[in-house]
Each structure stands twice: as C-alpha cells, then as structure tokens.
Amino acid sequence: MANDLSAPVPDAALSDALVKKLAVLLADFTQDWDNEFEGEMSRGTRVLADLGFESIDIIQLIVAIEEDITHKKMPFDKLLLKDGRYVDDLSIGQIADFLAANL
C-alpha cells in the first residue's frame, strides 16, 4: 500500500481481529474454487497471488465484506485506487487495516 499521511490510522487490535474474521469469510468464499492454496490464511495472504482471485472476485469479495462484516457500504475506492491506477493485489492485512481505519 502506498504511504498516505492523510489516511486514517487503523486500530491494531481491531485490525488483527478483522484478519481472523476475513480469513473465515475467505475460507467460505473460496471453498468450492479450483484453487491449490493450502495452509492458514494470515495477514500476509494475497488474494490474487495466493488465493487465485480475478478482478471480478474482488468485486464479489467487497459485496461479501459489506454484507457479512460491515453491514454497510465502505469507501473501497480508497483501498483499490492508488495514483489513478488499480492496485495489482491485496493482502488480507491490507484489507483489515483499511476496514479498521474506516470503521
């Protein structure tokens, strides 16, 4: 994630809790995919490189997060758009930090 001094600072404890919650959500989300990821999902797990996401899956993941965790729309453009470009990948930790900072 690019450094942004104006971005809100995430609460570390909340972010760690969200990592665990996201790991459970992602395990359900990907349970019937043809994906070879094995092991435990953690802060460093990347959704494209490790879990086999495609762009459309990120859109669906945002829906799932808003439906299951935040129960309302979140400003995901702040996470996905950096300097006019869409980020290449996202880790569970980056998503958790974003949610913790914007809740």
Binding site: A17, V63, K72, D77
Partner: protein, 533 residues
C-alpha cells in the same frame, strides 16, 4: 399445482425472429410449434424498453415497475466520478432503489421462484422463496443463492447440475460484441445450448417440487446469440445463395430456439391449465451497420483527452477495457462505457476542478447536442438521430446518475469508446444490436385471445404480473396493469386493485460514514465471535 403465474423472460427477444420461428418455413418447418400454439390462442404486444434499451436497467424496470430515474440502475458498470479519478465497479441488487416484485409478492404472502434475473445478487432481503441470480460467475453462485442451502439442494437433486456450465463467464461474455471467426461464432452459439438446459433443469425442478405462486425464469441466450448471429436469424438478411456456413449457423440457431420451445412446453404443462403464463423481453433486436467511436469524436470537438499509454502491461489492459481510459484532468464530456450509449458532462464543483462551470451547463449541453447531431457518415447520413436530455427521460431521485445525454443512433447501435479514427466506420457485415421494442405476451385462464394489441411500456410488466397473482398494485408504481391482456369476464371478477406504496430498498443509499454506535456494534460482534479480546 398451486402456481398462479408463470413468467418466462426471454432476453432480447423480438417478434422479428419469433414470428419466423413460429411459422411454417419452406425446408425448415415450424421451429417453435408449442409457442406458435400459445400465440395463436393468447395475446401479445410490442414492449417499449427503457430509453437506453439495455439489460440491467430494462430488467430492473421489469422487476420494479419503475424507470431507471427511480430504480437507479443505468448500466452494467457503475462509476463514481472522484474528480481526479473515476472508480469503476458493477451494479448489484443493493443499487436497486425500488422494491422488486419478488419481495412485494412475498409481503403479500406469495411464494416466489426467480431464476437468472440480473440485479438479484446479493439476494434481495425479505423474499419468501428461491432466487438463483443471473449474471454471476459460477464461483459466486452458492453464496448468492437464496435461501441458504438452495445451491446444495440443487446440486444434490438436479441431475447433471454444473454451475460452470450454467453461470455467467465474463471472459466468454465479452465475445458477444467481438469480431469472431466462423468457427468461434458457431462455438459461441453452441456454448449457450447447455447453459439454457441447465437453467431449464433448475426451473423444472423448483416448479415441480416447490409449486411457487409466482414462478419466474429468464433465458438469456436469445440476446447473446442474436448479437453474434443476427444475420442468420433476421429474415431481411437471408442471402440469395446460402453457403454451407450459413446453413450450419442457421441450423444451430434454430436448435437453440427449438430447445427453448421444449422448455416452454414443459414449464407451461407443469404449471397447468389454471395458471396464467407471461413472456417478456427487456428489449428487441435489429441490425447495426456502422460503428460510432464517440470518444474519438468528442476528442475532435476538444472535449476530452486520452490517458497516456506508457506501453506497460497494465496500461494495455486498461486501454482494452470497456470503460473509458481518459486524462480526467482535461476531460469535460465523455462516454463511460459502450453500453451506456451516452455522454456525461463534467461540472466543476469548485474552481480549479475539471469540468465546466455549473452556470454554463445548459449552454454547453445545447451546443453539444447540435454538434452531435451534425455528425455525418461517409454517405452524408446523420449518425446520431437524437440526444435525450436526462431530465426529460429519467425523472426520479436518480436522474443525476443518468448520462447527461443518451444517444439514439440511426441504426440503434451501441457506441464504441476505442481510441481509433475515423469516428464513424461501416461494419464489414451487419451484427445484432438492441431495438427499443421487445415482446410481451400472455396465455392461459382469463387471458384475452385478441392476438396483437397496442404496444405496452416495460414498466407495465410488474403490475401485470402482480395483478395476475392477486396482489394489489403498489400506488407508486409507474407502470399500469395491461388490462388488454385479460378477457372481460376475468377482469370483471378480478378488478385491478391499488395497494400500499412499495417499501424502500436501495441499501447503496446508506452513508459510507460509519457512526460510533455502528462501529461499536461491529467490535462487539467480533468480540462475541472470539476474534477480539
């Protein structure tokens, strides 16, 4: 059987093709004999689509009885102009700011089944019955089916169920609008045969087992096939000499329509003689003969600048995508997506922001309309025959989200947003495009046998289905019951009733700002689940 109303959606279906498929043609016979019989004893009308006749806004109007200005869905892709950037995502059911018939019927105590309708994912809340959404990739079908467990039930009980064969594949869907080789075109049509069979199998299973009051299924292969294979189904384009390829393509298109006829026969037979059966399409189809590269023309007029392509893989991918890739700091008027078929005018909120000053809006727009209508093709014909102002065509709370100008091209084509010159070129051969007139048909007990009647509006489908179900029509619906679809005796026994207004939907309208109480609730939930001390 307790099913009162069977609704079969046929995406992009048009009488131009349906009339051919239901009559006896030399050497071919009748491709859809069962539907021909139904049409012979029922009623039908052309159905005028939404101002931009496109799948997401049009099906949403069918499901809500309201136009896009009220329900808020205008395209496949939803864009948020952030000044320096435009954030792109897809519309989903939470963007639909009007209640759908699925929950209106459920609130009235009716059980529903809705299969393959767009904008039904995530599943609308407060629905009694089953929803398997359309336009959702196989990987996400389980989580988006309603109720929980439905996907597993279908997997277990429907022989041959294969979500990959059934569901929307984004990479494949892109082919609908691409130039394909002969063999790819034939494969494209063949790809839809098992897809529709999968949807039919689920529809047959749920109709037979659950016997919902309202059974609704949408078949979308009609649209996809007609985009690529229009020249093989339009009677006006039959060549004097039929090549082997033409005959093969014609045969596989007819196979598709014959299959749909078989599905209709089985579903209508299962629903039984007491049911009323309705068919509708979101728009019709016709031929487009030229390409308008609208952003190239707007660049010529000095209203936009293309983004700099640095040659990187990401830049190339972005350039090839179906959403505009522009230098937003120097763009004041542009088209976002080919499917939007419209032009957005950027208005500067503050001095220094890109866009025109708000006070200049009307003058700027009037001048732009003149310039758009002045565009001619190489034969000197006008390319853009109308430019619809949003306040005239999209009244409602979401009018501001509509294109400032929705374009109507002389051949009903969709624009291209590619960075190519010239701005207008002829296509090598006609391909299919959406026509504003789709179909609306009915048959069954109490239905009129008047044949073709006066054209209806797309917003009339929802109130007509609710009336057939015995549910009062919400007072805030835009559409009216198609009374001409019912016979006098049945209407006398079942007068149209107006009920309470719809309940607000549109979760997207909620603020992105989270208050302290909401944040605390989430923290407590995380603590309760053991994720947090």
């Amino acid at each position: 059987m307790t099913t009162k109303t069977l609704f079969i959606g046929l995406d992009g279906c048009t009488f131009t093709v349906l009339n051919e498929m239901t009559r006896d043609l030399p050497g071919e016979g009748v491709t859809m004999p069962f539907l021909a019989g139904l049409m012979g004893k029922g009623v039908r009308a052309k159905l005028r689509s939404t101002p931009n006749p496109l799948t997401p806004p049009a099906w949403t109007s069918i499901m809500t009885g309201k136009g896009p200005g009220h329900h808020g869905v205008f395209d496949f892709i939803r864009a948020e102009d952030k000044g320096g950037d435009v954030y792109w995502t897809l519309y989903d059911s939470r963007d639909v700011d009007s209640e759908m018939i699925w929950s209106i019927a459920s609130r009235a105590g009716k059980k529903i089944v809705a299969l393959n309708f767009p904008l039904t994912a995530p599943p609308p809340k407060h629905t009694d019955g089953s929803i398997v959404p359309g336009f959702i990739p196989a990987k996400h079908l389980r989580r988006n089916s309603h109720p929980q467990g439905l996907f597993e039930r279908i997997k277990q009980d429907v022989p041959g169920f294969d979500p990959k064969e059934l569901a929307w594949d984004f990479d494949k869907e892109k082919q609908a609008m691409e130039a394909l080789s002969d063999s790819d075109m034939e494969n494209w049509v063949r790809y839809h045969l098992p897809r529709e069979e999968q949807w039919f199998n689920i529809a047959e299973y749920l109709l037979e087992k659950d016997q919902p009051d309202l059974m609704a299924v949408m078949f979308d292969g009609t649209d996809k096939i007609q985009h690529q294979a229009w020249q093989f189904v339009d009677p006006a384009l039959i060549p004097a000499e039929r090549t082997d390829f033409y005959n093969r393509m014609r045969a596989v298109c007819r196979e598709y329509f014959a299959n749909v006829d078989r599905y209709i026969e089985r579903l209508v037979t299962l629903a039984g003689p007491e049911a009323q059966v309705f068919f509708a399409s979101d728009h019709g189809f016709t031929a487009t003969v030229e390409v308008l590269r609208i952003n190239a023309y707007l660049e010529e007029l000095g209203y936009l600048k293309w983004a700099v392509n640095d040659g990187s893989e990401q830049a190339m991918r972005r350039e090839a995508s179906d959403f505009a890739n522009l230098d937003w700091s120097q763009t004041v008027a542009y088209c976002r997506t080919p499917s939007s078929n419209g032009v957005y005018i950027r208005v500067a909120e503050k001095p220094g922001e890109p866009g025109i000053p708000a006070r200049d809006y009307n003058r700027f727009r009037d001048k732009l309309i003149e310039q758009l209508k002045a565009l001619r093709n190489e034969d000197g014909e006008p390319v853009i025959v109308d430019a619809l102002k949003r306040e005239d065509w999209f009244p409602g709370a979401h009018m501001k989200d509509a294109c400032d100008l929705t374009l109507v091209l002389r051949d009903n084509g969709f624009v291209s947003i590619r960075n190519l010159k010239p701005a207008v070129v002829k296509r090598p051969h006609p391909i299919g495009t959406h026509h504003p007139d789709g179909i609306f048909m009915a048959c069954g007990k109490g239905v009129s046998a008047d044949g073709m009647v006066a054209r209806r509006k797309i917003v009339d489908v929802a109130p007509t289905l609710l009336h057939s179900l015995g549910v009062p029509v919400p007072s805030d619906f835009e559409g009216k019951v198609a009374e001409s679809f019912f016979n006098a005796d049945w209407l006398a026994q079942h007068p149209v009733q107006t009920g309470e207004p719809t309940q607000r939907s549109g979760e997207r309208q909620q603020s992105e700002e989270m208050d302290d109480q909401e944040k605390q609730q989430i923290i407590e939930q995380l603590q309760m689940l053991g994720y947090m001390e």
